[in-house]
């Protein structure tokens, strides 16, 4: 029926047994068996995360420690700056920043989080890219850094307005963390890495935990009446409403950071005239597009009516046009918006909010409008 690999070729996460025991519906995802939903279903899981707290297992993602051979974290930061257009030297200890591995064309190899732990940099990368990212780091940074994939750790996320109150019960100082703070923390006596961040648009935390202790920590968190386990289905609708990119869909090697509307993630130090201008793969293209604009842009899209418009739907200028101007890269039903939500690429002259476009759904033309992202305002605790 499908070319997906059989269960035998799929890897399991440390929390596999817990997912199954909680009624998780396991599906193949990036080479792993992952829960797409639990008994509550995608809609309820999504809304629960926005009003209470949701617990996500994202252990399929890659966790990599970059240890400077000199012992000076600045050396690891300076080395990593050769692969990303971000100001990594500017990340002070205890803080984290969103970053992009770029290629020579200015395309995006992966998006990632980089945290400064004082003596090392802690990276979290996408599951589907982690082997390539590790090879990329080894090829370019081996002279200055030890590249240590942390394969014996699980990664979970606790997201939603009640996440802080739930986690405070395990560490009363957790509420002092601000959005994008990150560092080692002890929870239930377990040495964890905790960051105040996530992929839902909600306040929340991401917790790296040794695989052997993951079930104990997660069982404790799930025992809190505010917390429900949430599958990948709701993770996708939550991040889409929050206007966050999914690598391999909204951004990839054919999209530059400027086309992807991610210029906010390129700090002044790496821009033209900055202290460390350029010096990353694709800098010519990316810095030129920063100054002059890109030919196309990622935008938010809202369809008329209630039918979801999904990935790969074509975009046209008007009802009679057959000239495909762009396409939807992520689309579905937004439970909090209570309507269809989408993102896609359009030529830059058509990228301003309010621009009317047309898509095609089951052979009929359907009006769409360019809208501002995100669809749901974030509640990050800055």
């Amino acid at each position: 029926m499908s070319a997906q690999p059989g269960p035998s070729s799929l890897k399991q996460v440390p929390l596999h047994a817990l997912h199954v025991s909680r009624g998780g519906k396991m599906v193949p995802f990036a080479g792993y068996e992952m829960p797409v939903q639990y008994a509550a279903g995608v809609l309820k899981e999504h809304l629960h995360t926005r009003t209470s707290a949701g617990l996500f297992d994202v252990s399929h993602m890659g966790q990599i420690m970059l240890r400077p051979k000199s012992g000076r974290v600045e050396d690891a930061a300076a080395a990593l700056e050769r692969l990303v257009p971000q100001d990594i030297l500017g990340i002070v200890p205890g803080r984290q920043r969103y970053a992009l591995f770029t290629n020579e064309d200015g395309g995006i190899l992966d998006d990632l989080m980089v945290a400064n732990f004082g003596d090392a940099l802690f990276l979290v990368v996408n599951a589907a890219c982690k082997d390539a990212d590790e090879a990329h780091l080894r090829a370019h940074l081996s002279a200055t850094c030890e590249i240590v994939p942390l394969t014996d750790r699980a990664l979970i996320a606790l997201q939603g307005p009640k996440a802080v109150a739930v986690l405070e019960k395990l560490d009363p100082t957790i509420s002092a963390m601000r959005f994008m703070d990150s560092g080692p923390r002890t929870l239930l006596g377990i040495p964890c890495f905790v960051s105040r961040s996530g992929y839902t648009g909600e306040d929340g935390f991401e917790i790296s935990v040794p695989a052997a202790d993951a079930e104990r920590l997660v069982t404790t968190l799930l025992a809190d009446p505010a917390v429900l386990p949430i599958g990948l289905g709701a993770r996708d609708s939550l991040r889409l409403e929050a206007g966050l990119c999914l690598y391999g869909h909204d951004i990839d090697t054919t999209t530059t950071p400027i086309e992807g509307a991610l210029e906010w993630a390129i700090q002044k130090a790496r821009r033209k005239g900055g202290a460390r201008e350029g010096g990353f793969p694709g800098a010519d293209t990316i810095l030129r597009q920063l100054a002059e604009g890109a030919p196309r842009r990622r935008v938010g899209l809202k369809a008329e009516g209630r039918a979801p418009v999904r990935e790969d739907a074509p975009l046209f200028a008007d009802a009679s046009s057959t000239n495909r101007l762009g396409r939807v890269t992520s689309g579905g039903f937004g439970p909090s918006v209570n309507g269809p939500v989408a993102m896609g690429y359009v030529p830059t002259p058509l990228a301003s909010a309010g621009t009317a476009l047309v898509t095609e759904l089951r052979g009929s033309r359907l009006p769409m409008q360019v809208v501002k992202l995100p669809f749901v305002a974030p509640t990050y605790q800055r």
């Binding site: 797409v36 939903q37 279903g41 995608v42 809609l43 209630r306 039918a307 979801p308 999904r310 039903f333």
Partner: protein, 121 residues
């Protein structure tokens, strides 16, 4: 009045020469939360196997095929207004449309409830 089932997880309630058609509890469970449904208009003539309706869940779009041929006499407007009825009452309030049967002989290939249950277990 008899209720018949298809291997595509549809049910048909037969009254005289009219069939009321919907999808089964098994089908709604597979689909997940339904957020949109597109129903055929009254008067439309459907051939057996033709796409009659589309169901959009949070996960994906699924086509519903006409299990038998006939003319649509009524579509369920209440379902179009509240597609979540498919999840809450698939074999009751969430009927999709009523069909005036073109050929009652087409019913012979369909399953009774016991045969359908055996298939989904």
């Amino acid at each position: 009045m008899t209720t018949l089932f298809t291997s595509d997880h549809e049910w048909l309630q037969i009254e005289g020469d009219t069939a009321t058609i919907g999808i089964t509890d098994f089908a709604q469970n597979q689909l997940g939360d339904v957020v949109f449904v597109e129903l055929p208009k009254a008067g439309r003539s459907l051939k057996k196997g033709e796409t009659a309706a589309t169901v959009e869940s949070v996960k994906a779009a699924s086509d519903v095929y006409a299990p038998v041929s006939g003319e649509v006499v009524e579509a369920n407007e209440a379902l179009a207004a509240d597609p979540s009825l498919i999840n809450s009452d698939p074999q009751g309030k969430a009927w999709f449309f009523k069909l005036k049967l073109a050929d009652k002989g087409e019913l012979e290939g369909l399953m009774d409830e016991a045969a359908y249950k055996a298939q989904t277990e």
